[in-house]
Symmetry: C2
Subunit: 457 residues, 2 copies
């Protein structure tokens, strides 16, 4: 945890003065993620200089952490030997991530310079659909036979472990590569040398299928506190594992997507500052247009009550306040429910409990808001601002509308996401902007209806 | 990944018919998190029955996963021997989490029945402030001396590893317990038996301080793909480690808090369905009240233009549409920026880039919305609905306002969260509801100003 800004200056100094040995000493103690962050701020032509100074293994780790633009730039500059060296150091799942982002020409070159086994693995993983467990797994795991002793298993791990993504969890297979049990390196080390794997492995393991959603897989890893989760095909053969570091990335991405959807943005998988203007425009305009058009209804409602508004013009002044409060209440309820759904805390069968809870909260909130508002209308607007049109009748209309609006807003806010989920839509889309549009129309209808009755207009 | 509902029925059946052996067989293959989830839906008096059937180690794991209410219930029902047995199986950090949630009487009983070392550890961790690295760490890590051989280190791990939270990362200390290097179990296993720890350990490690924010710690674990992160005190002595499973929990909690703040809810750390009505009320009413009062300004603005509105009543009908669109644009910008800040993608020094980006996106969005809106006003409102008051002049006012509102909304939306962060406020609070209130007032002012000029009212 240190300040990268200071380092950046030192690095640019060293490059300018061509003090490469010093530069190397400066870089090699750093973590790969930090070097990659430094590279992002360097001028493009200096990245290859930095990259070539790094020890091979670190260079490969940095390569994985770079932006795809910078990866492409480096690959285009690599000689065939350099490319092969980097590829040899990469783990399969990272290579697949890179291949997915590269243009066809670069992909071809990568595949040409990967060894045959790697090439087979890449093609294997590429065939799984995006966002599936298969697409984020790696095939580089430790497999053990059930009749091995602990001693033999440890020997096997020490011999083959270097190329595995993790040795912390090992997988016990039969001859047909069916998964029979899992074994952590901890249980293995804490067992006696002559124990047999079949006796100490955990036969009650959780596994996922290649086509399961990556978010489900990540949630399972976090729910069970696992370091890796086995991925099996339809015949229950082990084809790969998903490790916890990739699961964290998936959870972050999916949360960002949820948040974007809640704010009426089409999700994008690039960081904010790396997204171009046309792309940002395209991710924002569809919802804006749709919601603008739906807001037409509110206009129609107001136009329909034009004569009532003309006779009691003061009512217009409180429309924004009522609409905003309704919108806020609705988004509080919808966002709470959406987050609960995505954390698996709320299921459709809880609909009754959720509604009952929101009704009581809504009545409490509505009453509190109405009382404060009535006091404010009478004291501030009528007495301090001397506005004689704020009569007790008008204040009553506004406060009754407040209670009804809050109740409707909370009901709509908690119900729509759950119904959306039920019919297979994404609940996150039913968040603030969408609910606000609906609640706006409802609150106006309530407002004018109550005004007509109470004020007799 | 299976359906818990089906299992639940079977379990209740077995309890009712007192088939305890069968019940035990049903439960013991399950993961602790699943058993805890099942317990949550059981009637209170049945939880101790289920709990006592479980093998000791699994029972302790389930205990950790239960709600604090249920934990308290169980502890109150435990004999002293039972309590001691469960406590002996718990990891220190889990015990601390439980202690933090229990009333004083129960805490006293827990401390009385913990062994002296555990008691010391609990008191140690309890003294760190909430949300600090110290408060989520565990002191049960593997420590090695730098002059050990790999063989000796492995022996030590096999002897003492059972009580450690993780053996996947080991920490190399000097006599003063200063951290000199870290070593993964993988490097240890892949080294030669007679290698010396000092030669193979990684001296360039990342560590955090006890008082660092837990969110920073969790982000560092995820950034560097670590399985654990060492926590040192002010004198650089190793006092504990934070493991990746706890980091995932922290990331989830902090994200939920961010989302709640963005929806104008005071964050709570309980799941939605477990929060009582008064608590939910208290977390929602403050922002609702504040925002309701701030919405008064919009009312004042409208009241100020009452005569203009009276002469061109049609303008009122488009107020909600303009306000909603402004609010949506503002929340798109603010939510993008808030998420970027919390993922460390955006810093204050990027303010210029962010504003320049939002200006261009705003002009594009504003233009697109204005054009569509103009067409809609002329075709739908004027020609189809035969509303003669929608003149070209009125449509021009509305569409010009649209462009200006979108621009202001995006600017306010992207700037406020960054300024908030700069002055030490939480950027998440500057999300949709807050920005909507500001943008509403701005858009009304723009609307009436443009109307006055263009329509000469």
């Amino acid at each position: 945890m240190f300040d990268l800004g200071e380092l950046e200056k030192q690095i640019e100094d060293r490059i300018r003065t061509k003090q490469y040995a010093e530069l190397r000493d400066l870089l090699s103690p750093l973590e790969a993620a930090d070097i990659a962050a430094l590279c992002e701020d360097l001028p493009e032509e200096r990245i290859p200089i930095v990259f070539r100074l790094l020890p091979k293994e670190l260079a490969a780790e940095v390569f994985v952490e770079l932006d795809s633009d910078q990866q492409e730039l480096l690959i285009r500059g690599f000689s065939n030997t350099e490319l092969k060296e980097v590829l040899d150091e990469l783990y399969l799942d990272d290579t697949v991530d890179i291949v997915e982002e590269m243009p066809a020409g670069v992909v071809k070159r990568i595949l040409q310079h990967s060894d045959p086994e790697m090439r087979k693995g890449i093609n294997e993983i590429l065939k799984y659909p995006e966002d599936s467990a298969g697409s984020i797994m790696t095939t580089e795991f430790v497999d053990l036979q059930t009749d091995m002793t602990v001693e033999a298993a440890l020997k096997r791990i020490r011999r083959t472990g270097l190329d595995k993504e993790t040795i912390n969890v090992c997988y016990c297979l039969d001859e047909g590569r069916h998964l029979l049990g899992v074994l952590t390196i901890r249980s293995l080390l804490l067992a006696e040398d002559d124990d047999v794997i079949a006796d100490i492995m955990d036969r009650h393991f959780i596994s996922v299928q290649t086509l399961d959603d990556q978010e489900e897989v990540a949630r399972a890893l976090s729910r069970y506190d696992f370091l890796a989760l086995p991925v099996v095909d339809k015949e229950d053969r082990l084809v790969g594992i998903v490790t916890v570091d990739d699961a964290i990335d998936v959870l972050q991405e999916e949360t960002t997507e949820d948040i974007e959807k809640m704010a009426a943005i089409l999700p994008s998988d690039k960081p904010y500052l790396k997204t171009g203007i046309p792309e940002t425009f395209r991710s924002r305009i569809p919802w804006l247009l749709l919601l603008m058009v739906s807001a037409t209804f509110t206009g129609q409602i107001i136009a329909g009550f034009e004569s009532a508004l003309a006779s009691t013009a003061i009512l217009t002044a409180y429309i924004p306040m009522l609409m905003d409060t309704g919108g806020n209440c609705g988004s509080q309820a919808s966002v709470s429910v959406i987050r609960g759904i995505s954390l698996n805390e709320i299921e459709f069968s809880d609909l009754g409990r959720v509604i009952w809870k929101e009704v009581r909260v809504a009545l409490a909130c509505g009453a509190a808001l109405a009382v404060c508002n009535f006091a404010k209308l009478m004291v501030v607007d009528r007495m301090i601002f001397h506005n004689p049109s704020v009569t007790v009748g008008v204040a009553t209309v506004i406060c009754l509308t407040m209670v009804c609006t809050v109740l409707c807003a909370k009901l709509v806010g908690c119900t729509l996401p759950m119904l959306a989920k039920r019919v297979g839509f994404d609940p996150a889309v039913m968040a603030s902007p969408f609910i606000t549009t609906i609640v706006d129309a409802i609150s106006l209808l309530i407002y004018f209806r109550i005004a007509t009755v109470v004020l007799g207009i």
